[in-house]
Amino acid sequence: MKREERLHRLFGGIEDELIEDAAHPHATLYLWLSRIAAIAAAVVLTIGIATGPWWEQSPPPIVDDPTPDSSNTSGTSDVSQESTHTTQTTLGTEDTAGSHVSDDTTTTATTTIGPNTSTTQKITSHNNISKSTTKRTTRKAPQNTTQKAPTTGTAAGKSTTSKHTFSTTTKKTETEYKTSAGTTTTTTLPWSGTAIVDVFPTFHWNAPTYTYVVKKTPLSREAWGAYITDINVTGYDPVTDTTHTIKAKLYYIDGTNNRAAVAIRYEGDTAYYPAVNINYWPSTLGGMVTHLGFLTQLRIGNIRYDYRDAEDNLHQAEYAGLTYEKMAEWLFSDSERPNVYSETPSLDNPIKVSVSLPLLDEHGTLTVSENGYLCADLVSSQNAFYIGEEAAANFIDYVQDHCTVVYDRVKTGD
């Protein structure tokens, strides 16, 4: 690839905010209209006449906060415990489903469906993966979308040799389609050449509202713990309109609550992948810190903060070198702070800390606002806690006074 073409492609990866900012033909006018709309919304919120704040339109699922999961502290239980798992399979002591995980869950297949399909499936095989047919519903997918074969050059169309047994049981592995040039080309369909975590990317477990997303980086042997249960995982191939099912085993991840994440091993595969619950909803700040194993797992990246100086100049700054101890001291000291995501107002002058949980293959942000909120955008869910304006101010002061300045420049324009 030529250098200019590479640069052109690299330019495609600029920050989303910059892309959206320029998306509107009259961006400046749009910006002012947005500001006016934001002010109007704030006024409406203040006087309380709105039909409903934005967060009520899609409230996060409410999951009671479990007490610390003792099973996760049991250390590295061996796989040999698989046959005696029933006493260790409680999903927290206050599970909203009101039930413990039992052998019943082994028959609870997931219902991942694709366009034009409804819930699934009649298992027709006793192989590692079973193929099932799907039933049409009256819902109509948009034209030219889901039933279309991938075009040459897309990731979906790449062909690799799969080591998993499911690739041998799919209906067909190749198809023909016409390219824009009018020629007929044969390409390998996504299903046969795609990694197992991509064809079975999600599963439900224990309650309909618990959906786990499987991450792509396998866990090391030290990271997964006791066996939990067997499940069936379903994946949908939109190209052949076929639903596939595979058996899998779930395990605890050491130091992590099973409501937040578990490890999954697909039948016929040797790797253990982390899977995070996108409906994870801790009721307290301490619950989140404990369930996700912040103390041992959290990695802290750089911190971004836009602020105004005494002359009212807007600065854009980035800092580095924040330790977990200091972050915990300023932000996590009151573990009983309730999760108030559904009540969170706008975040005033937020400072954003990049964080990651390498064990769970998760990257996210902890945002602290001057009006005293800590928002965690992590594990594919968002949670917010009111920590108080004083704690937030102390944290921001600490970052500015003690962390390493990566850059700090006055923003021009606008």
């Binding site: 052109h8 690299l10 330019f11 600029i14 892309i19 991942t112 075009t151 824009s180 999600t202 606008d414």
Partner: protein
């Protein structure tokens, strides 16, 4: 106005086909503009838009894009550039994108830097853009991300054609200096 983006993303996560319908209703024009600017071919552009929907369906979950507009736009742009490369190999390229690539040469660092990581380079470019005035930044992004023609830019931002070209040239030179200063290798 279409459905709120967060609700559309939620439909994807629920594997609800309405996600695709809502995406198409809200963003088909936006995506078509991106792909058509690159490809200058109606059929190719529409196929890339359709592929974008399929890609989005396969990517969400596990992704949960915070900005669906940019997320879809990036997919469409990437697919269109792939198609453009293939078309160029078959001598069907040319047009605006060829011109853009020529203009990008002005930004290539003369010196061989040490930073080659794509994410780091993209962050550097973003940082450069944030340092520009809002007007200049939008002009640059409209030209090189969305692939708008000079005539489109004149219509959008006002001024003369020569003024737009001059401003873009200056920004390209600034970017080149910035990349060299940041030790970027392209």
């Amino acid at each position: 106005m279409g459905m709120d983006d967060h609700r559309i993303v939620a439909l994807y996560w629920e594997r609800d086909p309405r996600a695709l319908a809502e995406t198409q209703q809200k963003y088909s024009g936006y995506l078509h503009r991106i792909t058509h600017n690159i490809l200058q071919n109606e059929q190719d552009a529409q196929e890339c838009v359709n592929d974008t929907y399929l890609r989005a369906w396969n990517a969400i979950p596990p992704h949960r894009p915070q900005r669906l507009c940019a997320f879809l736009g990036k997919i469409a742009r990437h697919l269109a550039l792939d198609r453009y490369t293939a078309n160029t190999a078959q001598k069907r390229g040319g047009g605006t994108t060829a011109t853009l690539l020529e203009e990008w040469r002005d930004c290539l660092p003369d010196t061989a830097g040490q930073v080659e990581d794509e994410v780091a380079i993209q962050e550097t470019i973003s940082r450069f853009l944030r340092g520009l005035s809002a007007q200049h930044r939008r002009l640059f992004v409209r030209r090189y991300w969305y692939g708008d023609s000079i005539n489109d830019l004149v219509a959008t931002f006002g001024g003369s054609e020569s003024r737009i070209k001059t401003q873009l040239l200056r920004t390209r030179q600034e970017l080149k200096e910035f990349l060299e200063k940041e030790n970027i290798s392209v």
